[in-house]
Symmetry: C2
Subunit: 431 residues, 2 copies
Amino acid sequence: MINVELSNIWSCVSLPQLLGAEKDLYDAHLHLCNHQPIGNDYLGWLALPDAITAKTIHAVRSSADEIRAAGDTLVVIGAGGAYLGAKAGTQLLGRQNRMQRGTRILFAGDNFSSGSWLALCDQLGGCDFSLMLVSTGDADMAPAVASRALRWMMERRYGSEAKTRIYVSAPQESFMAVMAKEEGYTFLPMPQQLGGAFSALTSAALVPLAAAGIDPLAVFEGAAEAYSTYDLRAFENPVWMYAGARHVLCSEARRTTELLGTFEPDFAAFGDWWQQSVFFHTCQQGAGLIPIHVSIPAAINAIDRAISSAQYPVFETLLRVPLPAGQKVNVEMDWKDYDSLGYLSGRTLADVEQASFEGMLQTHAAADVPVVVLESDPLNAAQLGELFYFFELTNAICACASGIDPFEPQNRQPSRAYTEQLLGKPAGQDA
Amino acid sequence: MINVELSNIWSCVSLPQLLGAEKDLYDAHLHLCNHQPIGNDYLGWLALPDAITAKTIHAVRSSADEIRAAGDTLVVIGAGGAYLGAKAGTQLLGRQNRMQRGTRILFAGDNFSSGSWLALCDQLGGCDFSLMLVSTGDADMAPAVASRALRWMMERRYGSEAKTRIYVSAPQESFMAVMAKEEGYTFLPMPQQLGGAFSALTSAALVPLAAAGIDPLAVFEGAAEAYSTYDLRAFENPVWMYAGARHVLCSEARRTTELLGTFEPDFAAFGDWWQQSVFFHTCQQGAGLIPIHVSIPAAINAIDRAISSAQYPVFETLLRVPLPAGQKVNVEMDWKDYDSLGYLSGRTLADVEQASFEGMLQTHAAADVPVVVLESDPLNAAQLGELFYFFELTNAICACASGIDPFEPQNRQPSRAYTEQLLGKPAGQDA
């Protein structure tokens, strides 16, 4: 359960304003639930954690087992939520597993950089690897180009056995499904989602996580519990608290930029996932918040400057996720005390971190900057599932509450259409 | 020379508006130059590239040589511009050198994470390493705590020889200078800068770069040439073009958020440096732009959504920096053409990348989103120096033009004062 603490937002919005958002939130939540048909072939993301089948879990686990048996590296190629979700999950939970000799997970296909490609080839020299291709539908150009190159590399290296090392997660109706079938790749169907809804909780993200040693069932169980907890249509629901605060901060107080502060360097990829998910699902027609992810304490000094005047249309969301209790690390003694921090001796890093968080919170709140604090249980696979679901549902409700459809069947992205034209795509051809 | 292309901003601002900023820019530039006394002990950052001495270059090079001779790893501990600049530079230029077996550069001290600390210990097991401590003045808490721990680790591992492996870059008057002198560490003085001005072009950043195999003299020469080129007080000066565009987009068109798009994954750390430098030096009293760094093409789909409505107070700056011409990589053939991208065959990754950039530029400009394009020469050490200087000078001029002093002798950061109080800092004691 994620605890949402709103005591530091009242300099900008009032309790009646927040409560006044109730109808918007209710309608938004209802709209979401009514527009997400649930069935075997057509699971919506909303109830996905609840509707996941044993067959899916089995497929994820056995793919991960095969990947681990086939080598020490998995290359994930993709774009969008599932890809970024896999990156976030492996960064957050992979470290402890890497130390126990889990599979190395590499990511590719989010750029057209020749240098990155050559560096990847270098990393793959002399090791046995498998390939996971992820797509929520259309052929995005960057992952498709990487997929061509890596499939070709595998064929040269493994010959006819290459196909046993390639895994595809995509919707049933996509070109990727056709490719998997014709080439004999392992296919893990992704729910048929209208235009790229949230996909961090699909097999596309779970196979890499499982290969890195993270139990996919635990991730799903966390998400399933979140699904039932957060379905409540009232302000006791943490998602309503967070979504309501964002909604009124944005629409009433015109705080149109959200700074998400996280406190562990390993949250970098999660921050990317969050930032792109907010942009993609909630920013349309001028509605929605502009998202910025920052790492605390690295960015405190920089933000302090800006925040101290309280004149920017910004609010902060501080995401507190304790990492699994590991070894305690003490601040070292220094008899000469050059840095005058002698008063820290006897403290642990965790103590200092907590004080740094509180210092920032109190200072910014005192400067009339609204601060939302989200506190979760210690991080593990289940908590990761809950975190994904919590932010997905919040984003969807916020979007609907401001009159945006977060899952509008997206047209081909405009930049991409123009790019295809520049590259001489034959007219009338459709991916 | 960095080329500034403004042809896609005129949907939001007019040429007379831009030209009307001339007096503000002139005054800002003059103010900067007049308030930066130059002398041996007190170099300002502004003329630093021009005033650097052979002694400094020699000290940087011989430190780097010692570091390379002493082991295969250098740990850099710090915070702020010099630290982030070193990170940016090694990420951008380090790859080719790593392949030629350059020193591995690790970074620490920007967090209180026990997990990161244990991971660092793991990385340092079984290898010989040196330590570089960086500070622009005050003892920031996170780097100071990391410094205590690593100095202690070195003493246990190397005994009395530890001190020959420790390098300190800080101002003459700081506690770090005292520590270096008393302990016998190698000391590289940093210019005595009022309250943390720009420091990406000091020995603090250049020693790690040099250890990674990047010539410090070339970086300085690039910056020195930039210093003379960009001193021009007229709109022929690219810095004036960029600073002027930002100034009028922000103050006249109320486009208060700047999205900096970069096109290579290796620009991630540079993006961090830029984002923190904009926050820290230009965001005060409601003036200045809120900075967001995004990686293109990874974020195109997400931003496309938001941009298409042109209703956000945002403009884009696209930074085009060709990487050194390396091996050309072709898009692979695929006879079955599942992804319908067959029309790309015969193209290189660089072709596709260029089209992706142009597609995005034209699409966003057509949607009336102002886009500034910055184009530099191919990246090398000199170009890196110029990039740092270009953004530093632009930020400083933008800040002064909106009535902000970017180098105001900063008081102890407010969050930090509160944190110290929570941790029981003795009253009256000053670091």
